[in-house]
């Protein structure tokens, strides 16, 4: 276990109805680092991520964030942890920009309009920012959900397959953006099937499996992804 890790996971067993979906997980994620999570479809990656942020109860084991047991009901935890998981849900009557403004203002961001405008530009949504979600394409809605994680401050960012539904250029830009934020101190945990994304962002990779969940280097993880 890493010393003074921002996120500490000990013998964590995850699943539904008391049935584990993968082997127990033990790891520590230091502040300012990025951990990738890989595994085949159905291996339990999303379940691990949802349990890490307290959206699913753990079957056994513990998850500590910043020295405290994870409890998403705690406002301080929500203040520090940003997530983009499997959500593709939007208020039908709020524009994309309004969704982002709600997030920024909800987090007490100073000059929220300017922050939202910058991220709208960054995520290539400038000409669609004032459209309702129903008028956005699937990829644009994904960009909007991802942008919401960046219009607010966070210590930890948890992403489930951030590359999903993004074009190649946006994927590269997002990977570079996350890598730059990690260099500035952000901690990131993300699941991915994208070898390029993984090698750009991750410093270590957790391989989720039925028999054992192991930590490997990004190089080994990319090789594992290529082997399928």
């Amino acid at each position: 276990m890493a010393k003074n890790a921002l996120l500490e996971v000990q013998d964590l067993s995850v699943g539904y109805g008391g049935e584990p979906v993968c082997a127990p997980v033990t790891l520590g994620v230091q502040a300012g680092t990025a951990l990738g999570v890989i595994g085949p479809n159905g291996a339990g990656k999303s379940t691990v991520l949802q349990t890490l942020v307290g959206l699913l109860p753990a079957i056994a084991g513990s998850v500590q964030f910043d020295g405290r047991e994870v409890d998403e009901r705690d406002a301080g935890f929500r203040r520090d942890v940003a997530t983009v998981l499997d959500d593709d849900a939007f208020f039908p009557s709020l524009t994309g920009a309004e969704h982002l403004l709600l997030t920024a203002r909800g987090h007490g961001v100073t000059a929220p309009d300017a922050v939202v405008e910058a991220e709208v530009e960054e995520f290539g949504l400038a000409d669609r920012a004032h459209a309702l979600p129903s008028a956005l394409s699937s990829g644009q809605r994904r960009r909007l959900a991802l942008a919401a994680a960046f219009v607010r401050p966070a210590k930890l960012l948890v992403l489930d397959e951030p590359e999903r539904r993004l074009d190649a250029q946006m994927r590269r830009r997002l990977a570079a953006r996350i890598a730059a934020d990690v260099a500035e101190g952000l901690t990131v945990v993300f699941a991915s099937h994208d070898a390029e994304f993984l090698s750009t962002v991750a410093r270590r990779v957790l391989v989720v499996d039925d028999h054992a969940c192991t930590l490997v280097s990004p190089k080994a993880a990319v090789a594992a992804l290529h082997e399928g």
Binding site: G54, L55, S93, A148
Partner: protein, 505 residues
């Protein structure tokens, strides 16, 4: 990026932001809103007047009839049982759906904010209270209007108000249980209460003598009004306090169920609605070996038995289905009106048919297992009728036998079983509504043509199969000829149901 926790939006602030952003592009003016409110109030007034008049007329008709033999249960009791049934249904529904929940959008955009969850959920709590109030009025009004003694206006007002306050208290208690993750037992308990409420009076009214007549408690008005007010206020304050402890994952899960149920209701997909609202099936305690299965048709029967035995609340449905016609037949006034007993028979046996049609509904939703069997599709459907035939033969025979108090009535009920078994299978394999064709304008919005035919598929032939029993009720006896006709007619309808269950496509 700089942020100041003091500048964060509160729960109420988040709700206000969302409401105001929505309002900027809504074309609803205060005038439109006022018109809508007036229209809703007028509609509610008309509904109350029409139903009040209908119930009063029914009460007078029942009172004018000579007392029928073998009816023992007071009308007040049956009215109370009806209210309990609806209340149990509403409570089970609220516990299944939360009662507090977060829509997918709310879960994605509100719950991750640092805003106080209590403030975020206060609007949802108000909405659920509104649902509880509407349910209370819908339950209490018919009960008080249908009471054998004509109620006075103050009695109607006090009853409805008391019901409304009790419903608010119930919502509050359910939210407190939800916060402690203890709502799992509520729906089974509500089902058990409903079952006992129907079965016990039916049995006692048949084999013994029922003496208790439900009446309003003889206590002073301040106490009568004050206790429900205190209970409602205390429960709602507690609910508001604990709502901040609700977990986002659980709120999101319940919100998804609400979303799917609403979409299913709007698209008139009752089968999907049942799935959305149904209690999840728990994993079986032991794996079955099915050593007695030798033939493919036996595999279908074995699978159906397993599905039926693992369906939540199956025995309760069968018990209510059996006892409901008996309850109607034993009730003073109702028992002397064959048409009303017939309605209870159709409702009760429909409930039993729906319970026994669960394997057919599952098979329709996931046909892969059936396709793997070395049998033709029609043979599979025929084999699928075996479990419902056996189950409904017992339900219909017992039910009709006790309604008519004679073996010939039991035989008539058993003869009706093939039609209802066919109905169970036909209903289970009911095709989806075809929204690709022409649609009709209705008060509920656009609906596909043929919606009625599709929705009553199954029930239609069951009702037709009950016609000989209705004739028996009107005659007051079961001639041998009627028994023969009932059996032939029921077998024919059962055969038609099974043979046409799967539409050629």
């Amino acid at each position: 990026m700089n942020a100041d926790p003091a500048a964060e939006l509160s729960g109420a602030g988040v709700r206000r932001f969302t409401r105001q952003a929505t309002a900027t592009r809504a074309d609803t003016s205060w005038l439109t809103l006022g018109g809508d409110v007036l229209s809703a109030l007028t509609t509610a007034g008309v509904v109350v007047a029409v139903f009040g008049g209908a119930f009063s007329a029914l009460r007078e008709r029942i009172a004018a009839r000579p007392e029928a033999a073998a009816t023992d249960l007071p009308g007040e009791l049956t009215a109370l049982v009806a209210a309990l049934l609806v209340t149990a249904g509403v409570v089970a529904l609220l516990s299944r759906l939360g009662p507090l929940s977060a829509t997918p959008a709310t879960a994605a955009w509100w719950l991750p904010l640092p805003a106080d969850r209590r403030g975020l959920l206060r609007g949802e709590l108000r909405r659920v209270c509104g649902v509880g109030l509407v349910a209370a009025v819908v339950v209490a009004l018919p009960v008080v209007l249908a009471a054998p003694a004509a109620p006075t206006l103050p009695e109607v007002v006090v009853t409805v108000l008391a019901a409304a306050l009790v419903s608010l208290a119930a919502v509050g208690v359910l939210v407190v249980l939800q916060a402690r993750e203890l709502t799992g037992w509520v729906a089974p308990a509500a089902g058990a209460v409903a079952t006992v409420a129907v079965v016990v009076p039916a049995v006692v009214g048949t084999v013994g003598s029922w003496t208790w007549v439900p009446t309003a408690p003889d206590i002073s008005l301040p106490l009568l009004g004050g206790v429900p007010v205190l209970l409602a206020v205390a429960a709602l304050l507690a609910a508001d306090r604990v709502s901040g402890r609700l977990r986002a994952g659980a709120l999101r899960e319940r919100g998804t169920a609400v979303f799917v149920a609403s979409a299913s209701a709007l698209s008139l997909d009752t089968r999907e609605l049942g799935r959305a609202l149904g209690t999840p099936v728990h994993p079986p305690r032991r794996t079955r070996s099915w050593s007695w299965v030798r033939e493919p048709w036996q595999a279908v029967v074995a699978g159906d038995l397993a599905v039926f035995s693992r369906s939540p609340w199956r025995w309760g449905q069968l018990a209510i289905g059996t006892a409901l016609p008996v309850l109607a037949a034993r009730t003073d006034g109702l028992g002397g009106v064959p048409a009303l007993v017939a309605v209870a028979v159709v409702i009760g046996w429909s409930v039993a048919a729906v319970a026994l049609g669960e394997p057919a509904r599952r098979a329709h939703g996931a046909p892969a297992a059936d396709r793997a069997l070395p049998m033709g599709a029609k043979d599979v459907v025929r084999a699928r009728a075996i479990v419902p035939v056996v189950g409904l033969a017992v339900v219909c025979a017992v039910s009709a036998g006790v309604v008519g108090l004679g073996w010939e009535w039991a035989a008539l009920g058993a003869a009706t079983a093939p039609a209802w078994a066919g109905a169970a299978v036909r209903g289970g394999y009911r095709p989806e509504l075809d929204w690709s064709g022409p649609v009709l304008s209705s008060p509920m919005g656009a609906v596909p043509t043929g919606v009625g035919v599709t929705l009553v598929r199954g029930l239609d032939l069951g009702v037709l199969g009950t016609v000989p029993l209705v004739i028996g009720l009107l005659l007051g006896e079961v001639p041998d000829l009627l028994l023969g006709i009932a059996l032939g007619w029921s077998l024919l309808l059962g055969l038609i149901s099974v043979e046409t269950a799967q539409k050629k496509g």
